[in-house]
Amino acid sequence: MSDPDVPGVHVTRAEVCCVAIAECFRGDGEILANPIGTIPMIGGRLARASFEPDLCMTDGEATLIANDRAEVAPGDRVIEYWNPYRSMFDWVWSGRRHVIMGATQVDRYGNQNLAAIGEYDRPRVQLLGFRGAPGNTINDPTSYWVPNHGPKVFVPAVDTVCGIGWDKAAALGPAGRFVAVRRVVSNLGVFDFDTPDRSMRLRSVHPGVTVDEVVAATGFDLAIPDGVPESRLPTPEELELIREVIDPESAREREVPDT
């Protein structure tokens, strides 16, 4: 696809995904933006380098750093704060974080599984564990990144609920008041929950992807508005930031190959 603002420049699918991730953080202000994964990290850095300059971000380990570049050698880190793992709960439990997690399974209401596939007591596939997903989702806004959109990931109901979705939150009443599953970004499109029953809605398809392709790759009925827009392309300034400043090694292209 070509960017209308930059004649002749080819924008890759991975770059569209980076912009879609960045958009997840729009309006968040001075909180800990915690995107996990290669493209999420690039997208988060892009948001901070452009329209959300107050975001705080980790190095993936024990510090918050100010660098724009996504992969930065330890000696080159511009450290703002010492943030050992234990500090993370202070941000999470006080409501000052927006995490973008991965999801081995995600369902219609945004429930997420990264613990085990199959019967929990004797799983067919043991994964990571519940990790911090229950605590992340009940305390703070959460979004998800799925680089391999397919019916085994987008399932009618997850096998084990780790991150809680809108239906579980509604059943909790006031105890679920901080739950906010914001977006799901995949290699095919962007999804939100802006529907009367908070079920997943197709918000945009990435350029080159059809609505039918998304429907076929999704294991439940998505809410599909009339006239689904295309995910927006990076501006020339954003494209330069991604390519020259944030991810000059093009790690993004290895996570989502161009089509």
Binding site: F89, W93, Y120, F130, A133, P134, G135, T137, I138, I164
Partner: protein, 282 residues
């Protein structure tokens, strides 16, 4: 003390917390000694990495108490996965924040600490130790999760520097939960291995004040174990040995592969293990 001295203080059926985080600063020389011992039916409490995986492969684990198990550069722990998928071990899952509260509750000698973490998720169904209660304070009263204190028998941690009496310092970016694990375990069961034992008078020169986070009041015995965290990362003393970690991962392919790894890297005295590591690096 030696690794074997520590093992002699442990018993089958014990609940043992292991410090470090994933494949970082794990007390692996102690873990290897447990794997070689007659101990059995252990409950392992851990931010899990190859400590839990190796003990699963060695058949030492009755129950895993954890929020995640990972090898960092290899996202999923193959030996732990095999144990779960074959039904060989019992499972007691937590959220990472709940895990923190369970240690803190034990250290403070209260039966539980409250949180809303876990509500709505399947944790409450999968871990029957987690229950809900109505908060006695607040209007309207809120339903919360009671995270019960861990009931530890022992805790094992690896630090960068220690003195003979058990004062110790970490020199990397993160203490993880080592101090809380040692505080949560009962007197008599708290052991630290260290890269180097130094004179007490040298501790403040070896580490910043803020890194002197383990007090001898938390520790019952110290093992000098240079390379004791190998093959996990022990910042800044050495990086993770990815080659040996890869061999460990490959050993999950079959019982024969595990037997081969075990003979090469587990069923040998610690001094020989460290000699092999040095030779491989040379």
């Amino acid at each position: 003390m030696t690794e074997e001295d520590v093992v002699a203080r442990l018993r089958s059926g014990m609940t043992i917390a292991i410090g470090g985080w994933a494949s970082r600063r794990k007390p692996m020389s102690l873990v290897r000694a447990i794997a070689r011992s007659d101990l059995a039916d252990l409950t392992i409490v851990t931010h899990g990495g190859p400590d839990l995986g190796l003990l699963c492969a060695a058949g030492k684990v009755r129950r895993a108490v954890y929020a995640f198990v990972s090898l960092d550069s290899v996202p999923l722990e193959p030996h732990f996965r095999a144990a779960r998928q074959s039904g060989a071990i019992e499972d007691e899952p937590y959220d990472e924040g709940q895990f923190h509260l369970a240690l803190q509750a034990a250290a403070w000698r209260v039966p539980f600490l409250p949180t809303r973490v876990g509500l709505g998720s399947d944790l409450l169904a999968r871990n029957p130790r987690l229950t809900t209660f109505t908060a006695p304070v607040g209007d309207p009263p809120e339903e919360l999760v009671a995270v019960p204190a861990f009931e530890l028998d022992a805790a094992l941690c690896h630090l960068n520097r220690a003195d003979e009496r058990g004062n110790a310092a970490y020199l990397g970016p993160d203490l993880y939960w080592d101090d809380l694990m040692l505080q949560a375990a009962p007197t008599g069961g708290r052991f630290v291995s260290a890269e180097r034992i130094v004179a007490t008078s040298d501790l403040a020169a070896e580490a910043n004040l803020q890194q002197l986070r383990i007090s001898r009041m938390m520790v019952d015995g110290v093992v000098e174990a240079p390379g004791g965290a190998h093959f996990t990362l022990c910042d800044p003393d050495y990086p993770r040995d990815e080659a040996v970690q890869r061999a460990y991962v490959a050993a999950a392919r079959s019982p024969e592969a595990w037997a081969e790894f075990r003979a090469e890297w587990v069923d040998i005295p610690e001094a020989e293990y460290q000699r092999k590591v040095r030779e491989a690096a040379a």
